[in-house]
Amino acid sequence: MKTYVPPKFMIIRDPARCIQCQICVNQCSFDANYYDIEDSEVRNRDENCVGCHRCMTFCPTRAITITKNPLEYRENYNWRSEDIEDIWKQAESGGVLLTGMGNDKGYPIYWDHLLLNASQVTNPSIDPLREPMELVTYLGKKPDRVRIDRDSFDLETELAPQVKLNLPVMFSAMSYGAVSLNVHKSLAQAATEMGILWNTGEGGLHHSLYKYGNNTIVQVASGRFGVHAQYLNVARVVEIKIGQGAKPGIGGHLPAEKVTAEVALTRMIPRGTDALSPAPQHDIYSIEDLAQLVYALKEATNYTKPISVKIAAVHNSAAIASGMVRAGADIIVLDGLRGATGAAPKVIRDNVGIPIELALASVDTRLRQEGIRNQASLVISGGIRNSGDVIKAIALGADAVNIGTAALIALGCHVCQQCHTGKCAWGICTSNLSLTKRINPEIGARRLSNLLRGWSLEIKDMLGGLGINALESLRGNRLHLRGVGLTDTEAEILGVRMAGS
């Protein structure tokens, strides 16, 4: 069938610069550049270009420019080009439209409507170049009070397992298969170097990465891929995945093309089969079922590890989170509207869930109202872009944040949203061995560590400006935030006052 979908991008090659070296041809995994043997010339197939900039980045003579196809439809506020082309795609395929990465629509980004305070005159800002500045965070259940023996000062309270983070940022769950082993290695090495945690996602943990177990969160999802006793016990934290922000209400998808021998072995499934996780966990149809799984995992790990429960941020997050804490979760993870994925139905990614900022504020508030905020740590994710977003999340009440897309961008991701195709030209979201080798784990780990180092310095600068030298004094301290361009209701839910008040 002739496709009506026009090319999204155009590849413009400057003939004066191009030396016909064919690097662009080799680099492009989407066949947008090809070598015409008859004419001995490099040519384009614009319709295949996804705008990932791989060819442009590696062109030795900088001969390539990628530009948007200037094609204009007649202006129509309702029928935008994306709506029209999506219909053509479905009319031609008859299927669910799949996509990758997070929601790219224009829903409000509340981080951009929140501003931080700084000290002036009445109290001094603290200079992180000259004074200690503490970002250490401990995740895990905290008791209401500490008991000690009044005479001997002996500690009578024994804490539930705690996990130390040197900075309040972790890597989001990204499964082996969705991303490559080299990406997992990069994440694991960087997490170990920086004293934080990375997360296996739901695809199991490759044997070669067991040595990073102390910095690893392992996931138990509805498909139970790769879950076995050693997997649970090698980890620092075990996470039950109920949902994710990119596709609340449905399970993970790994297309058969990405299930190579190693992926199959790690997931404990046949090679070349689709790995489709059930939408719910079939042993969790209610909150008391969650409590049973939480305690089953605590038993399996002999109460040595915090159990985390991850949900997508949805309408009743506050009530659900309260139930999760009461069900024994030591850590709860909220993944917001902008949380990304390796593959999701586009309509779900773009229309289901709520912004993480609102979910975070309402969950933190509710848990405090119920007097149980200390019983679980609160981790959020979904579209965190920079250290400003991180510190605002902390001030709204998060204990830590997860970054997924930001970490992949550090590795080279250009957010071209082709993760579901398995053709990632940057070698990240693919299991094609000729592409995965494009990520060198040593360099990848260095890029990730550098990013986190930069963010730590920035967070320390902002904290010092607030007159605060320990992160726990900002956590949930919403007086240090002010809103701009918010409605009264939004400000009330976020628990912040408007700038100027």
Binding site: P132, R147, I148, G371, R475, G476, L479
Partner: protein, 380 residues
């Protein structure tokens, strides 16, 4: 319900911001002394306040009524006076009621009526409630519900005197040179966003606990939210209130010794904790993990007092000053060292504690022993 926040924080800022002079003086042998010295000392730090608040706490004040709760109450008008006295008679046995003696003082404008009551709880309280808890509940009730009245002192054998004015003027107004006590604290206030309200001056007090405070706590927002989880209502919207409630929660309700409370309010840095021997490390780490939301961050110095103890503490990087002086059994704490030298020219020892270092004077121990215990490490 009346809104004290509105009276005290009329512009509805995040909180009331103020800076101050503070002074404390304790004879650890329990010998009573007059207020002349401390009045002179706090007056010497006149420039640290701006006339919008001054006050004193005196311990060992009412030996003749030592077993009775002494309420100091301010009334804005006669009807509040009548209404409150009815309330007191209904809920307590009032043994003695009298107007607090004052002298006309040029700089003291529009003072409220000041009365004091010596009362017993008797059989007015529910059986399963302690006297102290009953007193706290009733004081909160008067202060948050009855109009134009404020209870600003409610301990036994101690009293708070405070108002709007420079501390030396407040002292003159209340004739404080005529009183005697074994422990005195004083405060001169420099608020920036309140017009000054008699009830909002320091010391803050509940039962026999008093707090005088100099600082602006950057962690106020989370300290307050944490305390609200434990049922405290921060009606005054000041840092000082947070300090007082934190101490009440940790000492009275959680039963922690002051040495540990200091390590919660001004904890050592994590890397310092990691360097401690195992036992200390576990203790310090646990309390910081559990009570992180009560870390008082940003500049502060407080003098906290109750019967038998005077406690000085600064924030962990000492962004507000505290000087300590010792002479025989007498322990001095002051914002400025000069104020101590002014009233005691031959100190045995004068020193500056490091950030977060607790200084305690305990009754019955010479001040030096009291302090030494802390220097050698609060955590044995």
């Amino acid at each position: 319900m009346k809104n004290i926040g509105k009276i005290h924080n009329p512009y509805n800022d995040d909180k009331v911001i103020d800076a101050c002079s503070i002074f404390g003086m304790m004879d650890t042998s329990g010998k009573l002394f007059s207020g002349e010295g401390i009045i002179k000392a706090i007056a010497n730090m006149h420039d640290r306040s701006n006339g919008l608040g001054g006050g004193f706490a005196i311990y060992g004040l009412y030996p003749e009524y030592a077993d009775l709760y002494a309420f100091h109450i301010m009334y804005l008008n006669q009807s509040a006076h009548n209404q409150t006295e009815c309330f007191l008679k209904t809920h307590f046995d009032v043994i003695q009621a009298e107007e607090i003696p004052t002298r006309p003082t040029e700089s003291i404008l529009n003072p409220p009526l000041m009365w004091r009551y010596f009362i017993e709880v008797g059989n007015h309280k529910p059986e399963d409630m302690s006297d102290d808890d009953y007193i706290v509940a009733k004081v909160m009730q008067i202060n948050t519900i009855l109009e134009d009245v404020f209870v600003f002192s409610s301990g036994k054998n101690m009293g708070v005197f405070k108002g709007v004015g420079y501390p030396e003027d407040i002292a003159a107004y209340f004739c404080l040179e005529q009183y005697r006590g074994y422990l005195w604290t004083a405060h001169g206030r420099f608020p920036t966003n309140t017009p000054g309200w008699w009830g909002g001056s320091h010391p803050f007090s509940i039962l026999d606990w008093t707090v005088v405070h100099n600082g602006e706590i950057s962690s106020y927002g989370i300290n307050r939210r944490y305390l609200e989880q434990s049922g405290y209502q921060c009606t005054m919207q000041t840092d000082t209130e947070v300090v007082a409630y934190a101490v009440d929660l940790l000492v009275r309700r959680h039963g922690l010794p002051m040495e540990l409370v200091a390590k919660i309010l001004a904890p050592p840095f994590w890397d310092e904790i990691e360097r401690q021997p195992e036992r200390q490390r576990d203790l310090l780490k646990t309390i910081r993990q559990v009570y992180g939301s009560l870390l008082l961050n940003g500049p502060f110095t407080v003098i906290i007092a109750h019967h038998g103890e005077m406690i000085g503490l600064t924030d962990r990087i000492r962004l507000r000053p505290l000087a300590v002086g010792e002479k025989g059994d007498v322990l001095y704490l002051s914002s400025e060292e000069s104020a101590i030298h002014l009233i005691c020219s031959d100190l045995d020892r004068v020193w500056t504690p490091v950030g977060g270092e607790l200084v305690i004077g305990k009754l019955g121990k010479s001040s030096r022993t009291g302090i030494k215990k802390v220097i050698t490490g609060a955590i044995r």
